[in-house]
Amino acid sequence: MNRLELSGITKRYPGCIANQDISLTVQPGEIHALLGENGAGKSTLMKIIYGVVKPDAGEITWQNKQVVIEGPADARRLGIGMVFQHFSLFETLTVAENIALGLPAGQFRNRAELKQKISEVSDHYGMKLDPDRFVHTLSVGEQQRVEIVRCLLQNLQLLILDEPTSVLTPQEVGRLFKTLRQLAAEGCSILFITHKLEEVRQLCDIASILRHGELSGQCKPADTTTEELARLMVGDDTPLFRQFDKVQGGSPILEITGLVHQPDDPFASPIRDIGFTVNAGEIVGIAGVAGNGQEELLSLISGEARSAAGQVKLHGRPVGRLYPDQRRKLGVGVVPEERLGRGAVPSHSLVQNTLLTGFGQMVNRWGWIQRLPLRKLTQEILDKFNVKAENIDAQAKSLSGGNLQKFIIGREVLQQPKLLVCSHPTWGVDIGAAIVIHDALINLRDQGAGVLILSEDIEELFKICDRLGAICEGKLSPVLPASQVSIQRLGQWMAGEFTESASNQGAPAYA
């Protein structure tokens, strides 16, 4: 008996087909990977199964019975649970209160019984959880456990996880995988959405690969190489992997010493006494789980937030009090985490968005915009960085995530910065675009600029960075040459264990 069978699922959105005639089956106790690049239609398909989105065509069969899933409550009644990429938890409530909110009325007699059940379930699956803690005091990994336990409290038959590992340290990933294997052994099916190939090979029994909304293949990951999986994901005409040399930097460009910052937002992370250097001609990478101070650090370097003058130095000059435009004049380029709504104005044209950070060169001293050079520069960005857009007057919001990211990186790189600070350079970007972006960063490095990368993608950091460190709760680990940093060690750093002697238990093999 199949646990779940999809046949001919099709979903169209204005301007694109998210899912085209997708059919697949999930067996009881199976860990089934759904693999694909961003925009391939994975999330849409999962939302259809969970009842959030209704398909335009196709049938869903659940335990050999054809069903129409009217909504998430309907799906939960059938025994389908889903953990979204962005958690739906109230930070000011406790774990137990959050879980109680998602349950049907009358499942537990009182709060004590619920708390006991939460402890029981979380212990059974090795996910320690205190029902009385407030959610805002939990780490991201612990918040994810709350979501999973919430699903487990119902008679769970199928658990859907949308990119669950993107917010975890390698050690936490290892623990999550153990839990999932235990669940599967007890008969629960798991649908695991990801674009990370190594994870699929470690965890999953079977993988379905989506490309451009269609099912492009199915395979047993254990018998398939990473290259073959990647080929199924991106198609035949995209080059896959490239190795970059590691280099040693020259003289310091950015020097940060004793940087402290207390943000206004109570849920933002303070910066606690950070010090490091970015030298000319090297790429420094800072790993870390989201929300540990990366945002604040980037703002302090870009000038959106300000510190004491001497805590941030460019070419030896204190710049901590300067505004972003003043720092740009000194050669700083910045690629922020949010592309639309910070890195680019959604409703403005690409030409205007070039002006957004290029006004130093594109406006004369009377405040007049130099229109022709500006249009030429915009065209150059599109050409050199292979940005697919209707034309240079297209609105920024009409570009796909990957193309907009290429545009923003191109805009910064073509201004020839001495220091480029880049947050998540290839997050949500397809493999083809990632290659363009990595090449651009390496080129910039080889021309003698210093590059600082803040990312959660450990594979990427190891691939392009010459020196590596990690940030945790606003504190920075040592920053060492990439060859001297193991994945286990980086994982400990991401969890806040900066001392050498820390044990390396539970670290999964990444490479």
């Binding site: 870009s302 000038g303 972003p324 435009d325 740009r328 910045v334 104005v345 409703s347 406006v363």
Partner: protein
């Protein structure tokens, strides 16, 4: 039934068509209203919209209304592009008229070429100062400018009432709440002596050209639009958002103040309790009807100016109350906002929503 579906990108066609549609709907609703009131709708609409413009005098009178509307609207446009919602053009207009008018009364017995420019400048500065209050409250206390500017409108109006009932009342005016009539040295020169139209229209057209250039060709205009569309991007780029907020309010206050003093020293010729027939409020409609574009604002202020003349015309010819002007202005804004939904959305039949229920 119908449902709305988000368009992949904003429709440029609807952007342009929405005001036209709003005008058509306003005419239809207005015609219905006239017929309910017992007048032939075609005839009444003709009286309202066409009859005022059947001779040259009518067109010059339209110019008299267009000049203050356009000045206020051009300032508001600058402000609204920064998403700073100055609803206080009315108060800034009144303060411009009052402050400038006071200076005019003090200096009007001097006969010198620089007196009028000085008076105009005084009015402009007063309008600007009135807006500066709102800017200060907004940037220092985070007070919402919509509320503060509306409240400042009432303060301005009461200040005007106090002045014309008290210190600025004409001692030889039989106790009417009016100031003395201005002398020639503080009166805006007329374009032609047979008509009331003064050079304030030329001033407004000049401001139009300047604002158009400012918005499309200069860094300041660009910064204002970035601040309005995306404040995070403005901070990211290093624009001084606080300073830009001040600029937006000061520019719009200055232009409203200029409109006020040009009105007082132009067609009115003295201070009275009714120096504005709501130009500052109508200018808000002008900005949105004109699609926040200088050229659109020119046409929209002509249409709104016409509603004032049409109101007077139907009062004379059909003995309907003049407040029908406000009704037409309100309907225009109402229909415009409704039609603007179609820029981001399209209407589809609802039946396509649940295709799989057919399975």
């Amino acid at each position: 039934m119908l449902r709305l579906e988000r368009r992949p990108s904003d429709s440029k066609l609807m952007m342009a068509l929405s005001p036209v549609l709003a005008i058509v709907l306003t005419l239809a609703a207005g015609g219905t209203l006239f017929s309910v009131l017992g007048h032939a709708p075609g005839q009444a609409l003709y009286t309202f919209f066409i009859a005022p413009l059947t001779d040259l005098y009518g067109w010059t009178e339209l110019g008299v209304k267009v000049a203050p509307l356009m000045l206020c609207a051009l300032g508001l446009n600058f402000c609204y592009r920064a998403r700073v919602w100055n609803i206080g053009a009315e108060g800034q207009f009144i303060m411009g008229g009052l402050g400038g008018g006071w200076i005019a009364l003090e200096l009007m017995h001097l006969n010198d070429i620089w007196i009028l420019p000085l008076v105009l400048l005084a009015g402009t500065v007063c309008g600007m100062a009135w807006a500066a209050l709102a800017a200060w409250l907004k940037t220092h206390f985070h007070a919402n400018e919509v509320l503060t500017t509306i409240m400042l409108n009432y303060i301005a109006l009461n200040a005007l009432l106090y002045a014309v009932h008290g210190p600025l009342m004409d001692p030889d005016g039989f106790n009417f709440p009016e100031s003395a009539l201005f002398t020639e040295s503080v009166t805006m020169p007329l374009i032609h002596e047979d008509y009331r139209l003064s050079i304030s229209l030329l001033l407004a057209l000049l401001v139009l050209a300047v604002m158009w250039t400012l918005l499309t060709r200069t860094l300041l205009g660009f910064q204002i639009s970035v601040l309005g569309e995306d404040e995070k991007a403005a901070r990211f780029a290093g624009f001084r958002t606080r300073w830009l907020t001040w600029m937006a309010l000061l520019v719009s206050g200055a232009l409203a103040g200029l409109a006020g003093i040009a009105e007082v020293t132009g067609p009115l010729g003295q201070l009275s309790p009714h120096i504005s027939p709501g130009y500052g409020y109508a200018a808000i409609i002008v900005v949105f009807l004109g699609r926040m574009h200088p050229l659109g604002i020119l046409f929209a202020s002509m249409l709104l100016g016409l509603t004032y003349m049409g109101g007077e015309m139907v009062q004379m010819d059909l003995t309907l109350p003049k407040s029908i002007t406000g009704l037409f202005q309100g309907m225009l804004l109402f229909f415009l906002l409704a039609c603007d939904v179609l820029i981001g959305y399209r209407i589809l039949p609802a039946s396509r929503q649940n295709p799989q229920t057919a399975n």
